[in-house]
Symmetry: C2
Subunit: 420 residues, 2 copies
């Protein structure tokens, strides 16, 4: 298809999403919950259809020589489908953010001003291979009164079509427009760029994927975007730290799930406790490859290779950790300012002024005192669910839940006031 044809088709889909968004924005919470619960039931009742579609995707991917890790992300099973259905039910059980009055006041002239949460409108999600993003993203969009405009990868297209079909069926059964969920059928690279360019048709675009997808979005998007970016997260063990607590926290932050954005990638240790703490690392972090600055290497005597400048800036997403000794909390804060990506930054300390300085001076979506970076996650923080973790500063920062899928509307009530 030519670029113009692709763009034309996408615009047509976008206009349908826009029409649906107007309807779902003022629909009842009950209707939206019913759509989510209905979709959960349909997913389980008709799991066979979804698995058959998934088998098509897997066969094509296998034939194309796709690596095993990617195949794993693509693969569905009865258990994974049950997990997706449970996810839908959990989102249905959350409270509805739409209609919440965030604040209100009365002006001297008697005008009553309030601000009310309303849906964003059409939320575009562009994502990679996991078919479960189709239900996760659609559920959060529907719950918050938005139309979900989904653009998955070519590898998962059959699975996504089957899943989106069930979501649309459930929406219609609940009296909502089927177009509350629209999956883009074109999965070409040109199509992705055209999707990101649907100004006026997508109110918010959220990429869910790796650095190359994010880079393409930054370069090509002409619609408002929330970036779910990298996490080069640090744990800083202060002079005033309880070292047993520090050991538990760094082990958890690095090893509990190394492949995710809120895992720690660099350990900073105050020189006052460096000797005592670092010699424990080989035991605390058994199986983790260590690279360090000169002092670290000398303390660990062969247990760590020298770190390069690149190491400080790298999100390993693996059992590897960069370690640096700092001479003060100021040096630690400066290191984070230089190399951090503004995601999640933890200090371990019992020193109140150090904790306060960390919280005030470290610039990140989340700062933590005496807790693992792994808590920076919508579910862990109590948001109920998350559509991503924003590393940008505009609109949403940190884990994005249902509220972050809304915007505000000023409602102003008077009795004939005019401006003098």
């Amino acid at each position: 298809m030519s670029q113009a044809t692709i763009t034309g088709e996408l615009e047509g889909l976008g206009r349908r999403a826009r029409v649906a968004a107007r309807v779902i924005a003022t629909s009842s919470s009950a209707a939206r919950d019913s759509a989510l619960l209905g979709a959960a039931d349909l997913l389980e009742d008709r799991a066979g259809e979804v698995l058959a579609a998934n088998a098509t995707d897997l066969r094509r991917a296998t034939d194309a020589g796709t690596p095993a890790t990617v195949l794993d992300r693509l693969r569905l099973s009865e258990a994974r489908i049950a997990g997706m259905a449970d996810g839908l039910r959990q989102v249905a059980a959350l409270s509805d953010p739409v209609g919440e009055v965030t604040d209100g006041w009365v002006r001297p002239n008697g005008l009553r001003v309030s601000r009310v949460r309303v849906p964003l409108g059409v939320v575009g999600i562009i994502y990679e291979n996991r078919p479960n993003v189709t239900t996760d993203a659609a559920a959060l969009c529907l719950k918050s009164g938005n139309a979900a405009f989904l653009r998955g990868s070519s590898a998962a297209i059959s699975s996504n079509r089957a899943i989106a079909g069930l979501l649309r069926e459930a929406a219609a059964k609940a009296g909502l427009p089927a177009d509350s969920v629209i999956l883009v059928g074109d999965t070409s690279r040109e199509g992705a760029v055209a999707f990101m360019g649907l100004r006026g048709l997508i109110d918010c675009l959220i990429p869910r994927g790796g650095p190359s997808l994010v880079a393409t979005v930054i370069e090509s998007a002409r619609v408002p975007v929330v970036i779910d970016g990298d996490g080069n997260c640090h744990v800083y063990v202060d002079a005033g730290a309880d070292l047993d607590m520090a050991a538990v926290i760094i082990a958890n932050a690095k090893c509990q799930r190394p492949s995710v954005c809120n895992a720690a990638e660099t350990l900073l240790v105050h020189r006052a406790v460096a000797e005592e703490f670092l010699v424990r690392l080989p035991e605390i972090l058994a199986g983790v490859e260590l690279v360090g600055d000169e002092q670290t290497c000398s303390i660990l005597a062969g247990g760590a290779a020298p770190a390069t400048e690149d190491d400080w800036a790298t999100e390993y997403l693996d059992l590897k950790l960069a370690v640096r000794v700092v001479s003060s909390i100021t040096e630690a804060i400066d290191h984070v300012a230089r190399y951090g990506t503004g995601h999640s930054e933890a200090i371990v300390t019992n020193d109140l002024s150090a904790a306060e300085r960390w919280c005030n001076e470290v610039d990140a979506a989340a700062v933590l005192v005496n807790a693992s970076t792994r808590f920076v996650d919508g579910e862990q923080l109590g948001l109920g669910a998350e559509i991503g973790i924003s590393t940008q500063r505009l609109h949403a920062r940190g884990p994005m839940g249902l509220r972050e899928l809304t915007t505000l509307k000023y409602v102003i009530r008077g009795d004939g006031q005019v401006r003098p």
Copy 2:
């Protein structure tokens, strides 16, 4: 200069702004207020310097044959400078949004979670001819702990340089970095595009200007943007309206200041009151050119020319009004959905269910009941001051005050929690 040279210079300025932003973000409210008050005094004490610089701009603009209305926007006087100084003092007197705890809760595992307002960082403002935007924008940025990265027009460059110089001097006197305010010297078109592309150096870009500037920003920006867009605002006179109140409101919304974005551009009238209300228009709106649909033209018998499709979509910003008779509130809401720009939409009615439907179903930054659209303004709504009126849905919607120049940071405090 070549594009690469321009970009290199801008990146250098952006890095300086970034360094200053880190300092001002954690500065005391007292220091920031002192900078603003000091700048107000400097502006008045050294008004002569500013007026001399302004004379240079005016001479150049006059020689280039600039129209009188543009010259007027460019022109400063003792009175206008006093107004700018007063504006600085008013912003200093507002309460500081930085550090406000917006919400907080405790997790079952004992983690204490809170969200705190922090500055956006480096706020880029790109604007047209009015030199007072230099103080207005810088004041709101400084007050909210942001570095102001300003890019004005070539026509006002001498005035802007003089004003920015005084702001920088005042910042330094208050113990803040002079680079808390940086004015871009290059005012070429290539420079504007390069400025909008400073990804990683500008945290939020706000264009203050007309449709062509906004279009360029949408096309060229690679940084997060808040769009201060058009206002094609409607007043709908419902069947249940008090027609005397409706007369006062439409006159105010159209005529009190027709050149601004919150002025009304289209009047919708329910057919039940059309005859009675429309015959009063020539008196209510004396001096306003009217265009209307067929019914309006027939009622006004020569008092209105036929409206074209374009009229419904046009922001006149002038003493001209499009008028349409609708057969129901649904038709009025549909008209607004089709032609509105999501700015400010007013209903006049005493019918409660009509008022509720309008507030719920009309999708705009602000909906009003029985009040003039002209109230949709930061100062009128009590925000103290505004840096613009956002017509986008992400981050900020409607009048943007100091809070809209901040973002949130999660602060998470524990006593050794790790994730199971």
